[in-house]
């Protein structure tokens, strides 16, 4: 298609609106209410351009470019005098009530309203009357509210309600008085509320954690990073100033997170700044220096009997160097045996099976989704956001039939009404996505697996059949099978959240059966940690084998890499293990139960102080870059291990000097990780001979920020591991897509500048979306269905099957340490079904005492109508609830063999 803009012809794709088209071509058209992920509503009138009838038309007519589809040979003008004047007036009206606040506004310097005001040339308020004011609301620990600044673009409610499914933000009052907020003060409940800070074109909603150590965008040292708080691996930008991490912003990756992050990812970063971080090496709880540490360790490591325990939250590099240091046979995955099996199963299914695992973006485009066992809102929130969009896919066909382009949001919503595409959810209890579901099924993992196997059998007779199915389940399985079969792009989602291999196998069977007829079938497994899949692809032994090796006397020295073993093993096992170890060496950044028992503690870097690669649930290897070098002795685990290896004269480790060399070694050594040295360009990469600066060109205070210590400025650190520099000098153009430290373009200071980095609006980044997919199915595989259908769950008298219940805030180890996230962590509880609560004569908030093994627990009761009988659920990973390998049977009767000295656990705040 040809489009003439200001008499210049451009080749443009069809089906888009004029605004998107102009922005894709790199032209600056101002806008407010349009958002690439949410489409157009034509409310703000800011994007007006002129459209001409033909080349002889001199007059033209003003149209809103976001509401006008591209037509072949159309002639438009952005620069037309009348259009410019119109846009100037519009912004002047929008600004009549905008306060004189920029100096004290957190948005200043990355503000879309500032950018658009400058772009349209408005600079003087002609309106002589008083400014309207509003009172603000308390919106919880994540967002600050300053309603005076609002320009009524409606983006916040469109995102919060329509896109993210939030219920508690709305628009109130009328005409010139409209108010965007909650019905009353209170915490914004939606998991994606933090995106309002980026969606709002001005400073009505701003990041409250950033406010506590406020820094302008131009003053941050930023680096491309990857979120470490779940297995999706959203791309983030992490910003530092004065040695502390200041904020996490979204880094667009069309395949993974698109424009949005969840609140766990956005606000979980504060653990990096914790006062009790491990900043110096300790031997026997005493601070020590580098030399002593290395000589002590080289003495320890030159003796036999050293084992290493890796971590699913450490990078591939760190795990690999540990593996190389202790030897392949002495390297153990630091995850519970169930998690170990589930991650290996996921890798096996995705690598050897016929079904492809789709990216989050592809899940968004799915037209039928079947979720087995996973509460994705809490285990992989961004995936849940994608599923929320996927239910719109099927009804959107109505709009297409009516000739309404899909970007025309209000019209599409009008024709779709509340119709939803097929979404089936089989989980233990209610989830937040239930409101969108066609049908839900509440059961234990065994029964969920049976449903899955039944669906697979309904799709393909050759897959194993389930016996003794209830009639309801047969009907439900048939319904699900029919909906999935009718879909063009069905997606099956399951994961490690319910700790059941049967559920994951059932999901695989469904996907295999579907894939026979429809090769567009997708299968998604979510995992529990950011590098679970990467660790599973690396090979290593089970954690229990490590315990046995030490307890049986085959080894006496253990190196634990960024891992709190108490989160991965049964308390009694871990205690026995640690007691049996003669030397416990722990590398970590935060204090936990394992570091407290360690003989040697080594200060590892967090993601912000480290370079590394993690592999997400999709098998996508993604690199995170060091944001800043710590002033203390903190550095990457892999660097510590290299130094230790060199001190101990380790043959391989003494050869590796930097990130690059380790990554090459992984690519040669590990058959499943062959391509990871291509994730980012090598460290010698330069653009026009220059590095890529981590600091924007307006970075300030270089000759003053350290002047209190010494007036002579220190030399900035040099980065041996990446092509990025720690200064503001370097290449100012567009860096390769895998190494974008921040989004900025002349005239576009806000995050909206991402438009300039995309191939086309909402599409992939120029140069392709970052990350390399390591797991692709082999074509033409014969399908081997999983057998082993579990028996249906039967409740046991006086017993409860304790299941883990994941929470977006609290279940992840690191983000739970962030003070803002900590305010949102639920209080410990045990969830019981109504019948069980009645049988035990318990009411809500009564204490239930139960016993797992020889441990006694006492937790307040919550009652659920949805939970199956004979099952109870406790929040996973909460610091107050000691970890046992769940699911586990508990008894409600005091067992006879209960040890008299058993520590009784009652959460502190419940004592009062």
């Amino acid at each position: 298609m040809v489009l003439f803009i200001d008499n210049k012809p451009y080749e443009v794709p069809a089906g888009k609106n004029l605004l998107e088209t102009c922005l894709s071509l790199g032209l600056d058209v101002p806008y407010f209410c349009w958002h690439p992920a949410m489409g157009s509503v034509g409310a703000c009138r800011q994007c007006a351009v002129k459209v001409y009838k033909d080349e002889n038309d001199q007059k033209g007519r003003l149209v809103m470019s976001c509401m006008e589809p591209v037509v072949n040979n159309q002639r438009i003008s952005v620069e037309d005098h009348e259009a410019k004047e119109f846009r100037g007036h519009v912004i002047e009206w929008l600004m009549t009530n905008h306060p004189h606040d920029c100096a004290v506004c957190d948005e200043g310097g990355s503000c879309h309203l500032q950018d658009m005001t400058v772009m349209t040339g408005h600079n003087y308020r002609n309106f002589r009357y008083k400014k309207r004011t509003y009172t603000n609301q308390y919106l919880g620990p994540f967002l600050n509210h300053e309603m005076n600044r609002c320009i009524q673009c409606y983006r916040c409610v469109r995102f919060y309600k329509d896109y993210a499914g939030g219920k508690d933000l709305d628009v109130f009052a009328s005409k010139n008085n409209v108010y965007f907020g909650r019905a009353e003060d209170g915490v914004l409940e939606n998991e994606f509320s933090g995106n309002l800070a980026e969606v709002c074109p001005t400073g009505v909603f701003t990041d409250k954690t950033l406010k506590q150590h406020y820094t302008r965008k131009w003053d941050l040292t930023m680096a491309p990073s990857v979120c470490q708080h779940c297995s999706i691996g959203c791309n983030t930008i992490a910003g530092e100033r004065y040695g502390s991490l200041r904020m996490i912003a979204n880094r667009y990756n069309g395949d993974v997170n698109g424009y949005f992050l969840c609140d766990r990812g956005r606000y979980g970063y504060e653990f990096v700044n914790a006062a009790d971080r491990i900043r110096n090496p300790h031997i026997q709880q005493r601070e020590t220096d580098r030399g002593t540490l290395l000589s002590t360790l080289s003495g320890l490591l030159n003796k036999p009997g050293v084992i290493g325990i890796g971590s699913p939250r450490a990078s591939l590099q760190s795990n690999f160097v540990l593996k190389a240091l202790v030897g392949e046979h002495n390297f153990y995955h630091g995850v519970s045996d169930t998690e170990h099996d589930l991650a290996e199963l996921a890798v096996k299914i995705l690598r050897e099976g016929p079904v492809r695992t789709p990216s989050t973006k592809e899940v968004e485009e799915a037209d039928a989704v079947f979720i087995l066992g996973e509460d994705i809102t809490n285990t992989a929130p961004i995936l849940a956001l994608a599923v929320r969009q996927s239910v719109q896919q099927q009804p959107a066909a109505l709009a297409e039939k009516a000739n309404i382009p899909l970007w025309n949001d209000a019209a599409v919503k009008g024709i779709v009404q509340d119709k939803k595409g097929p979404l089936f959810i089989a989980t233990l209890t209610t989830t937040k996505l239930d409101e969108l579901a066609t049908a839900t099924y509440r059961a234990t993992p065994e029964c969920i697996a049976r449903l899955g196997f039944a669906v697979a059998h309904a799709l393909d007779n050759t897959s194993p059949a389930v016996t003794d199915l209830s009639e309801n389940m047969v009907v439900l399985a048939g319904q699900i099978a029919q909906a999935l079969r009718a879909a063009k792009k069905p997606v099956i989602i399951s994961g490690a959240g319910c700790e059941s291999d049967a559920v994951m196998k059932a999901a695989a069977n469904v996907a295999y059966a579907l894939n026979k007829e429809n090769s567009n079938t997708g299968l998604v497994y979510t995992m529990l940690e950011c590098n679970s899949i990467g660790l599973a692809m690396m090979g290593g032994h089970r954690l229990h084998a490590a315990f046995n090796a030490v307890v049986n006397g085959h080894a006496d020295t253990v190196i634990v890499l960024e891992n709190d073993l108490y989160r991965h093993g049964r308390k009694s096992d871990v205690e026995a293990f640690l007691k049996a170890c003669r030397n416990i060496i722990v590398l970590d950044h935060s204090v936990h139960a394992t570091t407290q028992q360690a003989d040697v503690v080594i200060p590892a870097g967090t993601f912000a102080e480290s370079d590394g690669i993690v592999v997400n649930n999709e098998g996508r290897a993604q690199r995170f870059f060091q944001v800043y070098e710590s002033k203390d002795m903190v550095c990457e685990s892999w660097r510590w291990l290299l130094d230790i290896g060199a001190a101990a004269n380790h043959a391989r480790l003494s050869h590796w000097k930097n990130f690059e060399e380790i990554t090459h070694a992984i690519a040669t050594d590990e058959p499943l990780l062959k391509r990871i040295d291509a994730v980012t360009p090598p460290s010698q990469f330069r653009v026009a001979g220059q590095r890529i600066p981590r600091e924007p060109h307006r970075y300030s205070g270089r000759t003053s920020m350290h002047a209190n210590i010494n007036v002579s400025e220190p030399k900035p650190p040099e980065d041996a591991d990446s092509p990025l520099s720690y200064t503001m000098e370097g290449y100012r153009g567009m860096p390769p897509s895998s190494m974008i430290p921040f989004f900025w373009s002349p005239g576009w200071n806000s995050v909206q500048s991402v438009n300039k980095y995309q191939q086309e609006i909402g599409g992939e980044l120029k140069g392709g979306d970052p990350g390399i997919r390591l797991l692709e199915p082999v074509a033409d595989k014969t399908i081997k269905y999983f057998e082993g259908i579990p028996e249906a769950f039967k409740p046991l008298e006086d017993h409860l099957l304790i299941m883990p219940m994941h929470h977006i805030f609290g279940s992840d180890e690191l983000s739970a340490r962030s003070p803002s996230v900590a305010q949102r962590i639920p209080k410990p509880y045990i969830l019981l079904s109504m019948d069980d609560a009645v049988a035990l004569s318990l009411l809500e908030n009564y204490m239930l005492t139960f016993y797992i093994g020889r441990y006694e627990y006492s937790l307040p009761v919550k009652v659920s109508n949805a939970l199956p009988n004979g099952v109870a659920a406790v929040p996973y990973g909460l610091p107050e609830i000691p970890y046992t390998e769940l699911p586990e049977w508990a008894t409600t009767r005091s067992p006879k063999y209960l040890h008299t000295l058993t520590p009784t656990y009652t959460p502190k705040h419940l004592n009062t």
Binding site: V104, T133, R149, A173, N177, S700, T703, S704
Partner: protein
């Protein structure tokens, strides 16, 4: 010959001209009020700190010799937690004063800042903050900004309407 005598005569006449040279430091120079000398942080008419920690001075500084950290009190009023100028780098260009939206940072006609130790040229907030409004008396940024602070709720600033009553249906 004549030119030599003329030159001597003109030189002789200069003895009676007004002298441009002054005997500094015994005698102090009279500098105009807009002379760009030492940088100070001023206070508003209520004798509160004018600086709101907006970082514009730091961004404008061509030699990057200003660094600060913004923070706020319990009522939401912003101020710099620290404010540092490295005068050994400062070129007295006055861009910081131009950039300042609150008239907080001002250059005053004082240039007597010589030090033997370069480290002493690093000025912290307590060295910079003066008890005066400086060159721009009467301006109070928080009176015209929309933000509520202690003693000024929403709608109490200059040129502001009462806060909107969201529950009202009146036209």
């Amino acid at each position: 010959m004549f030119s030599i005598i003329r030159t001597m005569w003109l030189t002789f006449l200069h003895m009676f001209h007004k002298r441009a040279t002054i005997q500094y430091p015994e005698e102090k120079p009279q500098l105009p009020a807009r002379w760009r000398g030492r940088i100070v942080l001023t206070r508003d008419p209520d004798m509160e700190e004018r600086c709101v920690g907006c970082y514009l001075c730091a961004a404008a500084c061509p030699v990057d010799c200003i660094s600060l950290q913004a923070t706020e009190d319990e009522h939401g009023r912003r101020y710099p937690a620290f404010f540092r100028i490295n005068f050994s780098r400062c070129i007295f260009c006055g861009y910081c004063e131009e950039a300042c939206p609150t008239y907080a940072i001002q250059l005053i006609p004082d240039f007597e800042m010589g030090e033997y130790v370069r480290q002493n040229l690093v000025y912290e907030k307590e060295d910079l903050l003066i008890n005066s409004q400086g060159k721009y008396p009467g301006y109070n940024y928080y009176r015209v900004a929309g933000l509520a602070i202690k003693g000024k709720s929403k709608g109490e600033g200059d040129n502001e309407l009462e806060p909107v009553d969201v529950h009202s249906l009146l036209p």
